[in-house]
Symmetry: C2
Subunit: 189 residues, 2 copies
C-alpha cells in the first residue's frame, strides 16, 4: 500500500474546528439540534468540507465518540489489569463497565444522536464490534453455559443515550453505572 500523502494544514485545522463545533452544539441544544448546516456554519467552513472529512452525519458523530473512547479501548487491549488482560473475568468486566459507564454518563446526548444517525449499521460499527467482542469473551470465560454473544449485546443495549438521561437523577450521576455493574454481577453468577 502506498503511504497516504500527509493531510494538508488547512484540512487538519478544519477537521478540528468541525469537531469542536459539533461538541458545542451538542452541549447547547439537544442532540437533534445538531444539523450539519449548523455545524458547518459554527465551524466557519462550508458544508462540503464536513462531508468530505466525515462522510456523513453518522460518521461525524462516530468520530467524536471514537475520540472519547479510544483511550479505554487501548487500556482494555494492552493496559494493566484489571482493565487489561490478566485479571479474572469478573474483575475485568466490572472495571470495564465502570469506565464505559463513565463515558456514557458524560456523553448521553452524543450517544442518543449517534444511535439515531446510525440507523441499522450500528452493529457493524468497528467500535461496537470491539466492545461486543470483549464482553462476549468475558462472559464466555465466566459463564460458558450461557449464550455469551447475546449477553454482550444485552449489556451494550442498555447503553442507550435516552435511557441514561431518563434514568440518571440529578445528584447521583453514577447510578447507571452502579446498576449495570450489579446486573453484570448477577449474570456472572
Amino acid at each position: 500500500m502506498a503511504q497516504q500523502r500527509a493531510e494538508r494544514a488547512d484540512a487538519a485545522r478544519n477537521r478540528r474546528a468541525v469537531l469542536q463545533a459539533t461538541e458545542r452544539l451538542l452541549a447547547e441544544g439537544g442532540g437533534d439540534h445538531v444539523s450539519l448546516d449548523r455545524v458547518a456554519a459554527l465551524a466557519g467552513v462550508g458544508k462540503g468540507t464536513v462531508f468530505r472529512r466525515f462522510g456523513s452525519r453518522a460518521g461525524l458523530l462516530q468520530a467524536l465518540l471514537e475520540e472519547r473512547s479510544r483511550e479505554l479501548r487501548d487500556a482494555v487491549r494492552n493496559g494493566p489489569p484489571p482493565l487489561g488482560p490478566g485479571a479474572p473475568a469478573r474483575d475485568r468486566m466490572l472495571a470495564f463497565l465502570d469506565r464505559l459507564g463513565a463515558i456514557a454518563e458524560g456523553n448521553a446526548v452524543l450517544l442518543s444522536a449517534h444511535e439515531q444517525a446510525c440507523a441499522e449499521d450500528k452493529y457493524d460499527d468497528p467500535s461496537y464490534r470491539f466492545w461486543h467482542g470483549h464482553l462476549s469473551g468475558l462472559f464466555a470465560e465466566g459463564r460458558p453455559d450461557l449464550d455469551s454473544g447475546f449477553l454482550a449485546h444485552a449489556l451494550l443495549a442498555v447503553f442507550d443515550g435516552d435511557l441514561i438521561r431518563h434514568m440518571t437523577p440529578p445528584g447521583d450521576p453514577r447510578r447507571f453505572t452502579r446498576s449495570i455493574q450489579q446486573m453484570a454481577t448477577a449474570l456472572l453468577g
Copy 2:
C-alpha cells in the same frame, strides 16, 4: 366529560386504509422506506388525513404496534396464569417474554421504525410504561435485592428491532426469544 361523537364512516375507512398501507410499505421496503407521503399516496388519502388521525409519524407507528400487542397486554392484566396474575414470578416472566419475543420477532422492522421515530419520549410511551411496570414488579418479587426498575429497562432495551434482525438467523426464528428467556432466568437466580 362529554361523550365523544362517534367517528364518521369515511374517517373509520380511511384510518384502516392508512394502517394497511403502512403495513404494506413496511413489509416491502425497509423501515425508512415508510414516508408519510408514501403512506398517504398508497392509502389513497391526503397527507393531512394521516396527520389528523395519528398526529405524527411516531403516532402512526405506535398505533400499529399497539394493535399488535393489545391482546398480550390484556392477557397479562386479566388473563389466566401463567401469563396473568396468580403464577410465580419466574413462570410469569418466562411466559411473558415468550409472547413478547414472538411479537418482536415478527415485527422487527416495525420496531426499528418506531424506535427511530420516538426519539426520546419512548420511555414515556404508555405501552412501554406498562411493560416496564410489569417486568419491574416481577423482578421485585423474585429478586428484591437488585434494582428491579433498572433490570426491567435492561430487558426491554434488548427488544431493539435492529438487534433482533441482526441476531435472528434464517431458519431459527426463535433464537432471540430463547436467549432472552435464558438471560431472565439467570437474572432471577
